[in-house]
């Protein structure tokens, strides 16, 4: 009896769950049958492909070019997650966990010039409210690391509200980003990929 009432008490408030006036009905079906997302867009069968690593989540997966509109390329993974790049610079992700919703980023030419600059990231918090983060960034020449031999190997160190993120770029003499490691979000971490 003692054990039973203790267990009951433990559950009583927790399972307040189901109460309309202490007596009602909680659907549990969603837990079992939560519909799988139907993908509006799908990964093309072929075309330019990159392999993307998300550092915090420790996952690695292929993405293919879905569309190019002006200087923006949209990449898509097999499950429909997407990433947008402008001249190789990541400006948005969708489906990476916490996404980079939009961003104001430097061009490769600005990075190569070595000047300090601003970077602005927009992301959603857990309540779906837009947050804006303004970074002040400096560029420095980098050494070492696992990357191709290119004209410019740079780091972009950015600080906002006491948080520091460091992006890394391998940029060739034609100002193409050949390989990079770029910050996405606290949840996804950095995204690492090489140009196709």
């Amino acid at each position: 009896m003692r054990a039973a009432s203790l267990a009951a008490l433990l559950a009583a408030t927790t399972l307040g769950a189901c109460g309309l006036g202490g007596k009602a009905v909680a659907p549990v079906a969603g837990m079992l049958t939560g519909a799988r997302p139907a993908s509006a867009v799908s990964m093309p069968k072929d075309g330019p492909e990159i392999t993307v690593t998300l550092t915090f989540r420790g996952i690695r997966f292929p993405m293919r070019q879905l569309e190019t509109e002006g200087d923006v390329t949209t990449w898509i993974a097999a499950d429909g997650a997407t990433m947008e790049t402008r001249n190789g610079m990541v400006i948005a992700t969708r489906g990476f966990g916490q996404d980079l919703m939009s961003a104001s980023v430097p061009t490769p030419a600005q990075l190569v010039s070595g000047a300090g600059h601003q970077r602005v990231h927009f992301f959603l918090d857990g309540t779906d409210t837009t947050n804006r983060r303004d970074y002040a960034c400096t560029v420095a020449a980098a050494t070492g690391g696992d990357g191709p031999a290119v004209a410019h190997h740079l780091t972009e160190a950015c600080v906002a509200e006491g948080r520091r993120v460091t992006n890394e770029y391998w940029i060739d003499s034609r100002l193409r980003v050949i390989k990079s490691k770029q910050w996405v979000s606290n949840h996804a971490g950095y995204v690492v990929f090489s140009a196709p």
Binding site: L9, G30, A40, F122, L124, T129, T130
Partner: protein, 708 residues
């Protein structure tokens, strides 16, 4: 090239496996505020001066010796928090003969943090424990907590009432004795009166996951220990170790009062921290830019060709289906398109609008520049969101795109019927059905505080025409013990709710509801509903509602009138001989930042007249936490235990938890006790909640999802 293997790895890896990945996040450096045995921010049995992070919802279940407490707490604002506690004390009949082996009680707390911690000053919180209830746990306190370095917190405080009962150092007047009555009344006369005693303690974070707590308690446990002899309070010192098992769960083991071992589990949910980081749904289709103006693609000839229009309509309907949006009608001119869409019940409204706009941009001819999107629920138009296609094209990759887009759209009323619209074929009539499991519980009965049934529910709906819906649900119990309650209601009012156990026992199977409903838009800013039939488990009849709500107004006004008859306990087709006219005038106000109030004034099911005040805090992600109280002309004495009707309501959408689209919602209403006074009819499809999700105050809060 072979793909399937990598594809599979990705499926489990990227979109669906995020919850797993959370575990790999590095531990947080700062010491998070933890919870006490009473489920408030605190040490072991004593409170501290800190608060939880804004919006945090926690459930703490803690047990030592004969004492068990389970507490639901919510950080209402960054400074204010509230708690509801259910408590049991075993061995209650060991020394003093009485009918209860275990004494059960409920209590509510409020705390307010008056000072934030600074470099030199501690955080300071003032608290009222069991301020409205039987008064058994009643105490007031002021507690101060200072952090030293990043591993040590020291707390000291002063307590009154229970927390002033051990080794008092002074007194503030005389505290009137607690009259343990029906409960439910505030004991203002006792607050901060009588003996004052100090308490203190430390919390030391040994490793990022492991914490140590030690405290000196000022609670003498006079009733539990000296009077009823349920345990021996041999010492004021308590010690414990707590382990942060996951981001959500913290476990503790303790040695209390020199005689008893204890355990606790703290579940902490933070609406600002999605378990999956964000919604794990595929990205949207990029907005397709139109070719340069003037070419063949810009021809307007299509608008005079019925078959071309129908083919654009069908292409758009196909594109929308992937996002669970149903196209009901579309009205074209050469330069504009207005779509009316049936929206998924729990999907983020801004995202639904955004995805619909993209589908339009990607399927409609180039000459269509103005998009008007009218979301529908139960066949009625909720609002009209109007935008320019060129803005969509301009901003698809722009930084700060959501704020820019919000400033370029307009949201208006859409009460006027659409003219010249093409309807999608095969939408009406439409039959839907489903079988789902259910759990039904009965809480806080002193004979057994938790009873539950599980079973299956067959539900079906039949849409005859836009706004006209037949629906019903039948449930059949599979297992459970709800029928074991033989408590006879002692209510002196008509037994409109207190015979619930009879409905549980005899309603197997039960017709839960069987109704015909008609929803309409009688005029601008007006919404209406008429529902006829078996409206809920205990009542059937007719219910009519009219709501006035402007799309841009924080204020809304509603009127509802019902004539209902009480149903037979077996919940088949028969009625009992109690009938009543019940109804309310309701005012709704949104203060901004998600804080809302609702005031209902009218006549309740037992024929009593009065008012209900509800206060809720809502988040753009669909979360909401609130409390309500009803006062009617039924005296506290006639009402019985609890004195008046009150409770807490929560709402957590499953899509927030899982990151995937689902319309399931966890939305309990927790009442400490259900009596007959202040009881309202429960009818499906009430207008306010189904309408305002697509109105301005709500849409702009969540507008960031427009581009998701």
């Amino acid at each position: 090239m072979e793909f399937p293997k990598r594809v599979q790895r990705l499926r489990s890896g990227l979109l669906l496996g995020a919850a797993f990945a959370l575990a790999a996040l590095p531990g947080q450096a700062e010491m998070r505020p933890t919870l006490s045995f009473s489920g408030v921010t605190g040490l072991i049995d004593m409170p501290t001066g800190e608060s939880q992070s804004d919006g945090v919802l926690s459930i703490t279940t803690a047990h030592f010796g004969p004492v068990s407490r389970t507490t639901l707490s919510f950080q209402i604002t960054p400074r204010l928090s509230g708690s509801f506690r259910y408590m049991g004390i075993r061995n209650w009949d060991d020394v003093i003969a009485n009918p209860y082996e275990t004494y059960y009680d409920r209590s509510f707390d409020l705390r307010y943090q008056i000072l934030d911690e600074t470099r030199y000053l501690p955080s300071v919180t003032i608290g009222l424990q069991d301020f409205i209830g039987t008064g058994m746990m009643q105490a007031e306190y002021i507690a101060a907590t200072k952090t030293f370095g990043d591993k040590l917190k020291v707390t000291a405080g002063l307590g009154w009432g229970r927390l002033g009962s051990y080794q008092s150092i002074g007194s503030a007047g005389t505290r009137p004795p607690v009259v343990i009555g029906e409960g439910g009344t505030a004991h203002t006369g006792q607050w901060f009166k009588g003996d004052i005693a100090p308490f203190a303690g430390i919390e030391w974070q040994i490793t990022p996951k492991l914490g140590f707590k030690a405290e000196y308690s000022s609670d003498a446990y006079e009733i539990e220990s000296e009077e009823y002899g349920t345990f021996e309070r041999a010492s004021p010192y308590n010690f414990g170790l707590e382990y942060q098992a996951t981001d959500v769960l913290r476990l503790g083991a303790y040695y209390l009062y020199g005689s008893e071992f204890g355990v606790s589990a703290q579940f902490v949910l933070d609406p600002y921290k999605r378990p999956t980081g964000g919604p794990l749904i595929p990205g949207p289709r990029p907005v397709k830019e139109r070719p340069a103006r003037g070419g063949e693609a810009w021809s307007e000839a299509w608008v005079t060709d019925g078959s071309q229009q129908a083919s654009y309509r069908d292409g758009l309907a196909r594109a929308l289906r992937a996002d669970r949006v149903t196209l009901e009608t579309v009205a074209f001119t050469a330069n504009s398109a207005e779509v009316r869409i049936r929206v998924p019940a729990q999907e983020n409204a801004a995202q639904v609008i955004g995805r619909t706009a993209r589908a339009m941009a990607n399927t409609l001819p180039a000459s269509v520049e103005t998009f008007r999107i009218v979301p529908l629920r139960n066949g009625i138009a909720l609002s009209r969101v109007e935008m320019r296609r060129s803005d969509l094209e301009d901003l698809d990759h722009a930084a700060g795109q959501d704020g820019l887009m919000w400033s370029r759209i307009s949201v208006g009323d859409a009460a006027d019927p659409q003219t010249g619209a093409l309807m999608s074929p095969g939408l009406y009539p439409r039959f839907n059905w489903g079988v789902t499991p259910y759990v039904r519980t009965s809480l806080y009965d002193p004979d057994n505080p938790l009873r539950a049934d599980v079973g299956v529910r067959l539900s079906a709906s039949y849409d005859i025409a836009p706004g006209i819906v037949l629906s019903g649900a039948v449930s059949k119990k599979i297992a459970g013990n709800l029928d074991s309650s033989d408590r006879v209601s002692d209510s002196v009012l008509p037994h409109v709710r207190s015979d619930g156990n009879l409905y549980d026992r005899e309603g197997d199977p039960a017709i839960e509801h069987l109704t015909a409903a008609w929803y309409a838009r009688p005029a601008d800013n007006l919404y209406s509903r008429v529902t006829v039939g078996y409206l809920e488990r205990m009542f059937g009849g007719v219910s009519a509602e009219l709501l006035w709500k402007r799309v841009d107004s924080p204020f809304a006004l509603g009127v509802e009138i019902n004539y209902v008859k009480q149903r037979d306990y077996d919940q088949m087709f028969g009625f009992r001989d109690y009938d009543v006219v019940t109804g309310h005038i309701s005012g709704y106000y949104s203060f901004g930042k998600g804080y809302t109030a609702q005031l209902d004034v009218g006549r309740y099911l037992a024929g009593d007249y009065g008012a209900t005040l509800s206060l809720d805090r809502e988040f753009a992600n669909g979360w909401s936490v609130g409390a309500f109280a009803t006062f009617t002309d039924v005296s506290f004495e006639d009402f019985g235990e609890g004195s008046f009707d009150k409770g807490i309501r929560l709402r957590i959408p499953f899509n927030w938890m899982l990151g995937r689209p689902t319309d399931k919602v966890y939305s309990p209403t927790i009442r400490p006790i259900t009596r007959d006074g202040g009881a309202r009819l429960s009818v499906d499809g009430r207008l306010y909640d189904s309408v305002r999700g697509y109105h301005q105050g709500s849409l702009d809060d969540m507008w960031g999802r427009f581009w998701r």
